[in-house]
Every structure is written in C-alpha cells, then in structure tokens.
C-alpha cells in the first residue's frame, strides 16, 4: 500500500518537473534514468528468481536496432516497428531460453550462456556494419523536416513529451513487477529457484514458468532499448548492447535492490548519477604518477563501480531498498513487541 503511495507521489512529482522549471540537462538526466529504470526493472523480474542473465544487453540492442532499421530502410513507423522488434526479441529469448531450461543449465552456466548471447548480438551488429553502422553507431533518420512527429515517435528538442512517455513506461514496468509479485508464478519461480525436482513433483511446469518470465523480462528490456533509441536518436553496440550494458544492468539492480519493486529504479538513480558525476568531474583527465608515466583516468568510474559492486554484494545483498525495508520492518515489529 504504502509503496503504492510512494510510486503515485513520485509520478506526480515527475510529471510536474517541466512546469516547475526543470528543463534541459536535468530533465534529460531524469528521462534517461526512467528509461534505464524500466530496463532494469525488466531484468529484475527474472533476476530475483536466481535467473541471472548477462544477456539483456542483447535484448536491449534488438529493441533499438530493429526498430531503427525498419524505420530507415522500410519507413516503417515505430508503432509497428517496435512490436516487430518485440516479437523477434521474444523469439530470441525462447531460442536461447528453451534449451537452457530444458537441459537444466542453471546458475553460473546460465549466466555464461547469456553472456555469450550479449557478445554474439554485438558481433552481428558489427559484422553487418554496412547496414547497422557497426561500432560507430546508428541514427534513425529524422522524419520529414525533422520536427515533432507522433508517427515517427520523434520529439526532437521537446523533452517534456518524452518525459511523459518515459514516466508512462516506467510505471508500466513497476506494475508488471507487482503483478508478477502477486501471481502464483512468483511462488512457482521461488520454488524452482530452490529445487526444480521438488517443484515438478507438485505439478509446476518448470520449463514453461522459466520461459514465461524470461520472455516477459526480455520484452521489457527490448522495449527500453527501442525507447532509448527514439529518445537519443543514436545507438551503438556499446551504449545499448554488449556485455558492458548487460553488466551495467545487473550492477544497478544489485545496488538498488533485487527483491523490491522500486529497487531497480533506485539502482538506476544511484548508478547513473554516479556515472554522470564521475564523468563530469574526472572526465578525460589524466593522472600522472611521474612526469612521463601518466594514466588515462577514463577507466576510473569503472574502477569505482567494481569496488561498489563488491561492497554491495557482501554487505547489502538485498540492495539499498531491500535493506531499508528490512530496517523499517524490524523497527516496527520491535515496536509491536514492546507494546504487547
């Protein structure tokens, strides 16, 4: 309940931002955070059940690239292009997921298979550089004169329009998370994550449940990829795909909290703000140890990320939101005890 109020309040605040003077760069950061939150929420929908996918970069890239390619080559509006991208992503998720689940590839092995998927999709994008622009990236062509277009889902220079879209999909993501949390599938998947044989013995269709959650998760992430592309009007294998993005997704969710609806959002806020701050304050500075031994500091954010990840996994395995919730729960149950 209480959680729903927070989400409602957040929505109101977010929607009012452009009208209280938040525009330009700050609004850009908000939109970016919302789109990534949506992607992270998608990942956590399966990640919370121990299905640690390192392949979500592949799904995100599928969403972005297919939508953009269909637009540029066939003039197909994203309103049709995105559904096609989603259908193809679902196919990919099934093609990879089905054998994994059928042959019980779980835990680290599942992570490795999906890691390979990230890289395969990245390599395909690079190999087909004549069409996709390869590692240099790709831009959906502006519609007509390059103005505001609902048909092309392009809103250049109008962040307010995109904010509304981003808030809308962010809420959809949270609602899907909550819907699954309340569904019987959640119990099945918790059981499966502990003991597949014992789950099957009480009638749980293990492969089907895992496949279902994987497809939902992949679809959300692909959708996020498509929206990212429409918003930034530029994508590259490294900004929405590959192992780097897959790891970024996992990292943010671990930091924010994998077992709570708002965890991925909090993870997105923290990691993206941190990345921005590090980028602005350190940027491309060079650290010189001696006069002729200088290090490029661009790797420094990654270094900080790595340290943070280790710290979080060891000390706050439930992430920031999960730990805070535990903290409040413990305090309130203590209160009840003393009242009795």
């Amino acid at each position: 309940m209480n959680n729903n109020y927070i989400i409602g309040l957040l929505t109101l605040i977010l929607l009012s931002l452009p009208f209280i003077g938040v525009t330009g760069y700050p609004l850009h950061i908000v939109i970016t955070i919302l789109i990534w939150s949506f992607a992270y929420t998608g990942w956590s929908i399966m990640g919370r059940f121990g299905l640690v996918s390192l392949g979500h970069g592949a799904f995100m890239a599928m969403g972005g690239y297919i939508t953009a390619l269909l637009w540029n080559y066939y003039g197909l509006t994203p309103w049709i292009g995105i559904p096609i991208a989603l259908i193809l992503t679902a196919f990919l998720a099934i093609i990879v997921g089905y054998p994994c689940f059928k042959f019980r590839i779980i835990g680290h092995y599942f992570a490795l298979v999906t890691l390979a998927l990230s890289e395969v999709v990245r390599q395909v994008i690079i190999a087909t550089r004549d069409y996709t622009g390869g590692s240099l990236g790709y831009t959906p062509e502006p519609h007509g004169e390059g103005g505001w277009s609902i048909y092309a889902l392009q809103f250049p220079d109008d962040r307010t329009a995109f904010l509304f879209i981003a808030v809308f999909i962010w809420i959809i993501g949270i609602l899907i998370w909550k819907y699954i949390d309340n569904s019987m599938s959640r119990y099945a998947l918790e059981a499966i994550s502990e003991d597949e044989d014992a789950s099957a013995a009480v009638g749980v269709k293990v492969t089907r449940e895992k496949l279902k959650i994987t497809v939902i998760s992949a679809l959300i992430t692909a959708f996020a990829g498509a929206l990212y592309c429409q918003y930034q009007m530029f994508i590259s294998p490294d900004t929405i795909g590959g192992v780097g993005i897959s790891l970024q997704i996992v990292f943010a969710v671990v930091v924010g909290g994998i077992y709570s609806a708002l965890g991925p959002t909090v993870g997105a806020i923290i990691t993206l703000l941190l990345a921005e701050i590090l980028r602005i304050s350190i940027g491309t500075a060079r650290v010189c140890v001696t006069d002729d031994f200088c290090l490029n500091a661009s790797g420094f954010p990654l270094f900080i990320y790595g340290i943070m990840l280790i710290v979080f996994i060891i000390f706050l395995p439930k992430g920031i939101v999960g730990s805070l919730m535990d903290f409040f729960k413990n305090n309130s149950s203590k209160k009840i005890k003393t009242e009795n």
């Binding site: 019987m184 099945a188 918790e190 059981a191 502990e194 009480v202 009638g203 293990v206």
Partner: protein, 248 residues
C-alpha cells in the same frame, strides 16, 4: 489401478531395480519394505518421473507413465513425498502447500489452492497460519509438510517415502494413524515405503519386500513376516540398523 511390469533401472553398470513386477488395487495401502539401498526410492523415482526406467512399463489408470515428465505424472494423479524432505525454504508452510494445491490441480483459483492447502495441513496436523516459516519445523514437521504438499495435489495414488524416518515412537504411531486416516478420509490409494517394519505392518493391507533391487516376497503382513527369506535378509540388516541407530 497401477500395474508395473518388468521395471528396471540401472545406474551405470549397477542395477538398482531389477525386473520388478507388482500391482496396486484401488483403495489399498501397499507397504514396500527392504534394507537400505534395496531400490525402494528408485522405484518411487520412476513412478513419479524423476528417473526414466531402462526397461519395463508402468500402467496407471490405463495410461503408460514411463517417459512422462514429473509434472505430467502429478497432473495424472500421483503425489509423492521425498525421503529427505525438500521444502521450499523461501516460502512459508502454507505457501509451500498452496503452491502444490495450485499447480498440482488444473484450473483452480488462487483461493481454492489456499483452501486445499488448509485442508491438507489440517489432515497432517500442521498449523495453517499464513506466516509460519519452514525454519520452525523439526524433522517430524518436515515429514508432515512433505505429505501435505503431496496431498494438496489431490492425488489418487500417494507415494509416501519413509514418512517415519527420524521420528520417535509416539510420533511414529501418530504418523501411522495419520496415513490410515488419510486413506479413510480421502479414499486414496497409498504405497508406503518404510524400513521400520513394526509400525508399517499394523497399517498396510499388503507388503512387498525388495532386496538388491529384486522382489523377494509379497503378501499379507502376517505371511511376509513369517517368510524365511525375508527374515534372513531383512532382520539381519534390520539388526544392523538398530545397532547403528543405538550408536547415535
């Protein structure tokens, strides 16, 4: 209800179950006994689809089971417990059983599943309060939970694997009464694996004895308990068991 022919299971070169034939009538409690490692659990694993038999057929209510997946067999109406309890620790007791009630039956609503779970917990004598964690259960409680999970799937045939293991004498008698009661209340058929013979003999209609994966005797409890081969094979190992248990 169940007809098993020539059932065989090999693990590598080792034959755990060797050409076993038996059948179970509707409404009956069949006891399945034998020394440790004689293949009792392996038979259950084949009946419930965990292992595929190397040879033989399993006919349940005119349907061939060998080759089916565990969840399909559960759907057809066979519920099983595991010898070593396998609770889902991340779920509460009630949720464990409700999960079985929901997925073990077709087209049930969430609230139906929860009421199946309450019934099953009541039958085995566990509390059905929604917030009780698995961690509060001892050995006896976990065995009961296994039974409740199997019962919530509304089986026609229940496979109970050593539901008495780890229990003390009064708990054992209680559990035996419980199985009898389950049959009376639900009218289901039960195959009960146990190697604590005394209690089992009081409850079952018929006994089948396994040794080294082969069936060595079958019949009424009286007849089997006087069988020379059974005494030779089973009491011998039983004596060892008792000695082992005493040491602990």
């Amino acid at each position: 209800m169940l007809t098993v022919k020539n059932l065989t299971k090999k693990f590598g070169g080792f034959t755990a179950v060797s050409a076993v034939n038996f059948s179970v009538e509707k409404g009956e409690i069949l006891g399945l006994i034998g020394p440790n490692g004689s293949g009792k659990s392996t038979i259950f694993n084949m009946l419930s689809g965990v292992h595929f038999p190397n040879n033989g057929s399993i006919n349940f209510q005119n349907q061939e089971l060998s080759g089916l997946q565990p969840q399909s067999i559960c759907e057809l109406g066979i519920g099983r417990t595991f010898q070593i309890p396998r609770p889902f620790k991340r779920l509460t007791i009630l949720e464990n059983v409700a999960l079985a009630g929901y997925f073990g039956n077709q087209n049930v609503s969430k609230s139906q599943a929860w009421s199946y779970a309450e019934e099953a917990l009541h039958l085995v004598g566990l509390p059905s309060d929604p917030n009780i964690e698995i961690a509060t259960l001892g050995a006896a409680g976990l065995k009961k939970l296994e039974l409740a999970k199997a019962l919530a799937t509304k089986p026609n045939l229940l496979l109970a694997d050593e539901s008495l293991g780890g229990l003390d004498h009064s708990e054992m008698d209680q559990a035996a009464e419980m199985l009898k009661n389950i049959r009376k209340e639900l009218g289901i058929t039960i195959i009960w694996v146990e190697h604590i013979m005394g209690v089992l003999m009081k409850v079952v209609d018929r006994v089948m004895v396994l040794d080294h994966g082969e069936k060595i005797a079958e019949g009424s409890p009286e007849k089997v308990s006087k069988d020379k081969k059974v005494i030779e094979v089973y009491l011998g190992s039983d004596a060892k068991e008792i000695a082992k248990a005493a040491k602990r």
